[in-house]
Symmetry: C2
Subunit: 549 residues, 2 copies
């Protein structure tokens, strides 16, 4: 058998390695148009920032090691230009010599990745406007920084990579300004979660302009002027464009393979394209999202790697291994913060009309009595019908990665909030609490699911007409004095039973405290005293402050 | 309704708090014979070590805060002496006044915990022999250390608490010696995993005597002489006895409640004892283990807390919430190491005659190209029939807690190794690799499950007759030169295809490398070249070294 692979990095190289392990006899050729294979895309920002000092560390394998270990014929600087499906051949261009040739296949695997979006903004082709996708891109940025010693960078687009780059440019001493079209950074988060990132960026002196977009770039000597739709002009030495990527499906499209609604290569559960002899993986494909059912691409290395392994199996053993789709579990270090999300944010569920409930908690990363515990915010969205977990977001410091992985694994297997209450985590004081944060968020969500508690959100309060809610701050007088929600009365939870008559029975009552626990105790007291329209402000005053500060 | 609770710490206090939240009207009385309620048992070692400097931090709630917040009548220094099931009353002794009285109940909850095992060894009642279970025990130890300024401690018993105490005594400047009956520390681990802990203890100058036991304690002025069965005598200033605990089921037993085979209180899935008006939780109960089906106690805070919540629900709402049993997920910090386990170790499966396979891997805590990645060892045991995961153990540094939680959650829901290959974790370089360690161990186990790979273990090699296996070290000549398994020939995996004829076809061939990856590639080459009796040494030379060093 002869297998050809287009693309030699995450999806491609993994497919090749696994193919060889399951089929020692086959002929395997891997084409990569770039100079490098098997490199750490995800490490590129950290190489720019100097966190990864040695450039060689970015390369997991080279064509030589790949040949020696896996007996794969790796051809770098070879671009696959066309797929001749009739003949089962590809047309390849040797980018060094310019020469074109054909190579036949029994099975073909496409892992061409994604390409950065570059909208047709005036001035966009200026050489001081960079994108970051490949090693060459990285070298160009590093070279520019070392050569020109710039002081100011504007990052356009505040997604995961944009923010990773903000941190890394900052750590190289650059003055960083971010421009983002959405009213928040990291659009996969809901607003109140992103608000914590906004606060953090401010503490790092990173400037950002949200809800704004670039209307033009103008070069002026060594300066680049970034004109914004709002009329503002930002002056900098160079620009990083990171407004997203789209599946690189040109090759597939020209070969007449079916594409999906989002422009990615359409594949079935075996990761096979509309041509049974052609499989595709990675950023270039789209696949039904397990939560919404909608076909969409996933731009993540984990899924690309796992898909590669499945495809290799299916090619050699026949279609027996299925891919179940990705729920979009992602994480980023943003300066001292860790920001993670999995499944669907609340706003997408709203858009899609999928019934959901949301709760927000602020547990500690480990037992509070053991030194070094740090707060995190967890937002969980779930179905009010059966408690199925639909999404989770976490912003914090230590231990965020652990909890997002646990939550993702529950979402992946269509688990419910009850399952969260049951998770048996490993507990000793340096690592967790007797009730792990994932248990806590499960308890809170279960209480809402079963009607023991009703949560209200910051946006309900902010959007409500004056006087809609009777607001009770159940914290201590000292906490109340330091700041509260306008109009709130103060009845510490410890006094509530004695002072319950002060709370009107004919009003909608919102109780709140610092994070939600004391208000929950208060809510339970009130509810069992005949107050039916009583609500706990989810995430407490802490979340309220994040969005209003 | 009137609810009485015996025991005011993990299980008891949680039950009381939840009871109040679901039943505002009930009368709730919580009896605690000690001076304190709701304290951090798990923090006690760290208070002894000075890691937790303030004693107050150990107390999560006090009787006063509990009254104010939860309207619970907390009676410390009140011991429940007898349960009169006929009359539905308990007999209580006020330990301050000595006075006894009766208190009636509608429902009674037992959470009396466990008691340290104190075998009848000569001299065991010396005042310089401590156990660590309560705040009073802790105060006694701290007081002794501050008063007498001891220099040497012998810890008898090398379980989780024994080792936590080793670290904490060590950090107070004490010279620590450990005596343990088993041939290894931390008996829930398999030997090769414990061997890594042994190595680590040596680097900390902690002395330990394994496979040995105390035959007598002899006091000699300020000195305590610990006589061992082996004939050795250890001289120290005091002893910590931490050889385990047993369920404190005296009260239940005297009331005629059914006990289980291990001496714990027997409960059904609603955590109800053989008397429907009496529930029990925590260290005092036993419950069928979800993996072996055998009834056993679980001495862990997480399960105790979760059980408390279930019991409160069932008492108020009727038996609707079920407990599913604990798989024994535990973790401990042992100096710089983190040691964790969940489910069953291989040795117990062996004893129980449960069919199983084991694999060992040594992945990095996060992407190798990002600074600070640290190695960990993961051992996974699973069923060779359906791939169901039966147990996992991890020893390492960073990120051990995260992986054990993920593995535990898979074991808890009876997941298979295939599920491990599919886990969609959050990946960015500071947190993981594109394939998380849990994926990697899943891949390796799946390969074994499907017959793509066969693993052999260090004990197979050590126990085999001379010449049983043809050993091939597939590492580089440089690595080989630094040390290998006796009798092994060196054929680097990169040369294997060319030199395959050197390997005899009629022998059982064991391939090995540093950790198992290169040997796996070699194994696949050999297997597909007609070598059927070829095995990969699980965990590679690294694990082999751990057990033979
Ligand atoms: C800066 C950066 C940071 C990232 N950080 C993370 C992260 O932290 N976590 C995470 O999960 N994901 C991250 N990603 C995304 C992750 O790298 C991708 O999801 C993953 O690499 C996709 O794998 P792939 O094989 O589909 O594409 P790629 O890895 O991009 O490989 C595609 C390759 O195909 C080659 N190619 C394309 N067309 C042809 C052709 N016609 N002929 C020959 N070769 C061709 C390209 O040159 C390219 O090298 C990051 C990406 C970038 C750029
Ligand atoms: C030093 C130490 C470290 C630990 N570390 C960890 C760890 O890191 N992780 C982990 O998961 N677990 C740990 N544990 C175990 C954990 O603390 C227990 O599993 C948990 O506390 C059990 O809860 P419980 O309610 O059953 O018993 P306990 O919390 O022990 O509470 C029982 C209480 O009942 C009282 N009592 C008993 N009989 C009577 C009576 N007749 N009348 C009145 N009161 C009575 C006792 O005085 C006691 O205070 C540790 C335990 C100790 C001692
Ligand atoms: C590295 C790369 C070439 C693929 O490598 P690989 O040979 O599959 O090896 P990995 O290091 O990922 O390890 C996984 C394999 O080794 C096996 N393995 C790992 N540790 C093992 C051990 N201790 N014992 C036995 N087998 C082991 C696994 O079973 C798996 O093999 P399988 O797929 O046949 O089951 C490819 O993933 C790559 O190019 N990665 C870099 C690019 C990239 O992913 N970029 C995006 C993220 S930055
Ligand atoms: C603290 C203790 C008294 C019980 O407290 P608790 O009132 O259940 O509160 P926790 O802090 O555990 O929080 C859990 C409760 O708060 C709720 N909660 C937590 N955070 C919340 C938030 N932000 N918003 C709303 N509710 C919240 C949870 O839903 C849960 O309530 P529920 O059980 O009614 O659903 C008891 O666990 C205890 O004594 N612990 C110390 C002893 C111990 O466990 N020792 C062993 C380990 S060291």
């Amino acid at each position: 058998m002869k297998y050809l692979i287009v693309g030699g990095v995450a999806g491609g190289a993994t497919t090749a390695a696994r193919l060889r392990r399951v089929d020692e006899e086959a002929e395997i050729v891997m084409f990569e148009r770039g100079r490098y294979i098997s490199y750490a895309n995800c490490g590129l920002p950290y190489y720019v920032g100097g966190v990864i000092p040695e450039r060689e560390r970015l390369f997991v394998q080279t064509p030589d090691t790949f040949k020696a270990m896996f007996n794969v014929d790796v051809r770098v600087r070879h671009e696959v230009r066309f797929i001749d499906r009739e003949k089962k051949e590809v047309v390849v261009c040797n980018l060094e010599s310019g020469e074109e040739y054909r190579e036949s296949y029994d099975k073909l695997v496409l892992s061409p990745g994604a390409e950065p979006v570059r909208p047709p903004i005036p001035g966009i082709n200026d050489e001081r406007i960079f994108t970051l996708r490949s090693v060459d891109d990285t070298d160009a940025i590093v070279h520019f920084i070392e050569e020109k010693k710039p002081r100011r960078v504007v990052i356009v687009g505040a997604g995961f990579i944009g923010l990773e780059m903000a941190e890394n440019f900052h750590s190289r001493g650059l003055r960083v300004t971010i421009v983002e079209l959405a009213p928040q950074v990291m659009n996969v988060l809901d607003f109140e979660m992103a608000a914590e990132v906004h606060q953090h960026l401010k503490t790092k002196n990173v400037a950002f302009f949200l809800g704004d977009a670039v209307s033009a770039f103008e070069r002026n000597g060594d300066e680049l002027r970034v004109q914004l739709k709002s009329g503002r002009t930002l002056v900098c030495d160079f620009v990083l464009l990171s407004i997203g990527v789209r599946p690189d499906s040109r090759l597939a499209k020209e070969a007449g393979l079916e594409l999906g609604p989002r422009g990615g290569i359409k594949v079935n559960e075996y990761l096979q394209t509309s041509d049974p002899d052609i499989y595709a993986v990675g950023d270039a494909i789209e696949f039904p999202n397990p939560i919404t059912g909608k076909s969409m691409p996933t731009f993540l290395a984990g899924p690309a790697n796992k898909q590669g392994r499945i495809v290799a199996n299916n090619i050699v053993e026949g279609n027996r291994y299925t891919y179940k789709g990705a729920i979009g579990t992602a994480i980023a270090k943003v300066f001292d913060l860790t920001v993670a999300s999995t499944g669907m944010p609340e706003k997408v569920l709203k858009e899609e009309g999928i019934p959901h409930q949301a709760v927000i908690v602020h547990p500690g990363s480990h037992a509070g009595y053991y030194p070094g515990a740090q707060p995190m915010t967890i937002k969980l969205v779930f179905s009010p019908d059966d408690g199925r977990v639909l999404g989770a977001q976490i912003v914090g410091y230590e231990g965020v990665d652990k909890r997002i992985d646990l939550l993702a694994s529950v979402i992946q297997r269509k688990g419910t909030v009850v399952e969260l209450t049951e998770i048996e985590h490993a507990y000793a004081p340096p690592y967790s609490s007797a009730k792990d944060p994932v248990n806590i968020v499960g308890f809170v969500a279960e209480n809402v699911l079963l009607g023991k508690s009703r949560h209200i959100h910051w946006y309900d309060i902010l959007n409500a007409p004056q006087g809609e809610y009777y607001l009770v701050d159940v914290r201590t007088p000292e906490e109340y004095a330091l700041g509260t929600i306008e109009g709130a009365v103060n009845i510490p939870v410890q006094q509530l039973r004695a002072r319950i008559a002060e709370i009107p029975k004919d009003r909608k009552v919102v109780v709140f405290c610092g994070v939600g626990f004391r208000a929950y105790v208060a809510e339970r007291i009130l509810r069992q005293h005949g107050y039916t329209e009583v609500f706990n402000l989810s995430g407490g005053y802490k979340t309220y402050q994040h969005v209003t500060q």
